[in-house]
């Protein structure tokens, strides 16, 4: 499978502070990839690096096989909707479409016009007077109509109300289905990603804690409840993601490919949210716990 994004030991430093450090991640093409992690995990930095808005301090990154250097040819292949979906407040909706048409050789004017029409946006309306949802839709339209191979969205729905959020994600899904593009979408809300993404990456402190297709992740993770047991007496092929103990009882979330037969444990399904929270909670230092990836 070709990689949409491949980063190796990627780092970005602002002054003395590392916003992203030693990040190694592979994002396959042809998916809607959800990038999830706590604030400060480096999601925005990673996505800006991928879009060519930043240059890395260390390490390498390739996007769609090319380096995001800010050259026009590479820029044309990547659509980027930045955090808070910025648009020019003083420019009208029509002005934005004109901007896109003039600055992108591959601009799909029909797509842009249709989308704006379908959204019910008045082309003469100033972008500064649009609602948050409409503004996000306008930014998405600009990102889509340049016909990129990869669309990167950084927390596009963070500031939207639930209804606008659903509409935005629906519009995104329709466009993905129609134009067969790869998408990387970051969020700290798992519920948003659950509906849209078929691939999930959990990024905590610049490290990938879990990555894989959503189905596989759900199939290989289990919640176990049983009598209290010390961790070193668990089967060797279990990857314990999180463990909670009371005096008598242990509750574990484990990853294993093998079925669980031990009758001492009662096994239940985990939701995507449980899974993500378990990885985000994980206190273990990175060097003790190998980076986990679902093998396919």
């Amino acid at each position: 499978m070709s990689a949409a994004l491949h980063a190796r030991d990627l780092g970005k430093r602002y002054g003395r502070r590392w916003a992203l450090r030693d990040c190694t991640v592979d994002i396959p093409a042809g998916h809607v990839v959800g990038l999830v992690g706590p604030n400060g995990a480096g999601k925005t930095t990673l996505l800006k690096l991928a879009a060519g808005q930043l240059t890395p301090t260390s390490g390498t990154i390739t996007v769609l096989g090319g380096r995001p250097t800010g050259e026009p040819a590479q820029l044309a292949r990547i659509g980027f909707v930045a955090q808070d979906t910025p648009v020019y407040a003083g420019l009208s909706v029509a002005d934005h479409l004109r901007l896109g048409a003039r600055l992108n050789p591959g601009w799909d004017a029909a797509l842009a016009r249709d989308r704006v029409e379908r959204l019910g946006l008045d082309p003469r309306h100033r972008a500064g007077k649009l609602s948050g949802g409409q503004r996000a839709q306008l930014a998405l339209t600009l990102g889509l109509a340049k016909r990129p191979e990869l669309l990167i969205l950084d927390e596009p729905v963070a500031a939207l109300d639930p209804l606008a959020r659903r509409e935005f994600l629906q519009g995104l899904m329709e466009a993905v289905a129609e134009h067969e593009l790869s998408v990387v979408l970051s969020s700290h809300l798992v519920s948003d990603l659950e509906r849209t993404c078929d691939y999930l990456i959990v990024l905590v402190g610049s490290r990938v804690r879990a990555a894989g297709e959503v189905e596989d992740l759900l199939a290989t993770h289990h919640r176990l409840t049983g009598p209290r047991r010390s961790p070193d007496r668990l089967p060797g092929d279990w990857q314990v993601v999180s463990a909670r103990h009371t005096d008598r009882q242990s509750t574990l979330i484990v990853r294993t490919d093998a079925p669980i037969h031990d009758p001492a444990w009662s096994v239940s399904q985990v939701t995507l949210e449980d899974l993500v929270l378990a990885y985000m909670d994980e206190p273990a230092p990175a060097h003790l716990r190998p980076v986990l990836e679902v093998k396919r």
Binding site: K48, A51, G52, Q53, L54, T55, G70, E71, P72, A73, L75, A76, I78, G79, F80, A82, Q83, D84, P86, V87, Y88, A89, G90, L91, D95, R98, L99, G100, R102, L103, N104, P105, G106, A139, L142, G143, K146
Partner: protein, 353 residues
């Protein structure tokens, strides 16, 4: 890209254009009257020989509008730097729209190049136009200006000819550069103002006097370079104050003007009264001579002071260097502008986002 630049710039451009039109209209309405008043006065004074007095009166009458117009031309580059230069990039950074526009299929170098060129040329054109109408309007006043307000003097030099265009280009690019480094509009505007004002003060004080080696010469005293001469009742000798002017070179930029006594020592100068050891009890400066030839008394007394060996020692830049200085200074600011623009391009490629 030019379309987008124009689309973002057109309100500011229209505002500036409107202000310029108002200024140009005001000057166009009053300019012909000023010119005809001047030529009528010159014809009249040429007959009765009172031209110095006419110049004084004419300049005094119009000093306020003269200063106002001059100040407008001096301040305009700073305004362009503040309101066109500083927000050019910071506005995008503050609204986050740089992330939108830099992800279109166009390099940010080209984005900056178009913005800098287009808006920068507009700034130069605005300053050039403003200087042109001001230079035209104040031509009669520049010819009759009092010492300190001549074309070569620091206050006026920067508001005439071609240097205002160079100032505008420099102020604009300075604003853009500071904006890129500071990244916030209002602080960037403040820093731009401080830096530009500092450069504009340092230039005439420390740099311009040395653009070409100044001329040093000594001059006999006469009505052109003596401001006042007189004696207070309780003093033995009279006091003489020099005018900052060069005999035979009206409009020269006087850098220093001092009175030297017969032994060549400095007796005083720079506008301060100096004691002249000439007898006021007898001789040409004595009371008998003064009463015998009323009106002629001053000249014969000055002639006596000259005979004793008092001289004006002056260091100055001759008036005919006005245009060489304009070109040299324009060149210096053009170089500064180019340097800052280079810095902007480096910065936008390497650091910004």
């Amino acid at each position: 890209m030019i379309w987008l630049t124009w689309r973002q710039f057109r309100v500011a451009a229209a505002t500036a254009a409107a202000a310029l039109v108002v200024l140009a209209a005001a000057l166009a309405l009053t300019g012909p009257g000023l010119a005809s008043g001047y030529s009528a006065g010159i014809t009249a004074c040429a007959r009765d020989g009172g031209c110095p007095r006419f110049f004084d009166r004419f300049f005094d009458d119009h000093q306020l509008p003269f200063l106002a117009v001059t100040l407008v031309v001096l301040i305009l580059p700073a305004l362009l730097g503040l309101f066109w230069g500083a927000p050019l990039v910071t506005r995008e950074l503050e609204a986050g729209t740089h992330l939108l526009v830099w992800n279109q299929s166009i390099t940010r170098t080209r984005w900056l190049a178009v913005k800098l060129t287009f808006t920068g040329l507009a700034a130069v054109a605005a300053a050039g136009l403003c200087s042109l109408v001001a230079t035209w309007w104040s031509a009669p006043l520049d010819r009759s200006a009092a010492p300190g307000f001549g074309l070569m003097d620091p206050l006026v030099f920067g508001a005439r000819g071609i240097v205002p265009m160079a100032y505008a280009a420099f102020a604009f690019v300075l604003g853009v550069t500071v904006g890129m480094l500071v990244r916030r509009t209002v602080p960037a505007m403040a820093v731009t103002l401080v830096l530009f004002a500092a450069v504009q003060i340092v230039m005439p004080l420390a740099v311009r006097p040395h653009l070409l080696p100044p001329v040093g010469a000594s001059f006999a005293l006469g009505p052109e370079n003596v401001d006042s001469f007189g004696k207070a009742g309780d003093q033995e000798f009279p006091h003489l104050t020099l005018e900052s002017a060069i005999p035979g070179d009206t409009g020269a930029w006087v850098l220093s003007s001092r009175l030297t006594d017969p032994s060549g020592r400095v007796a005083g100068g720079e506008g301060l009264p100096a004691t002249v050891r000439v007898s006021t009890t007898s001789g040409p400066c004595g009371p008998s001579q003064q009463s015998r030839e009323p009106g002629k008394g001053f000249e014969s007394c000055i002639a006596e002071i000259n005979r004793l060996g008092y001289r004006q020692e002056a260091v100055y830049q001759p008036f005919e260097r006005f245009w060489p200085f304009q070109w040299i200074e324009t060149g210096i600011y053009a170089l500064l502008t180019a340097g800052l623009a280079g810095l902007c391009f480096r910065w936008i490629r390497r650091r910004l986002s």
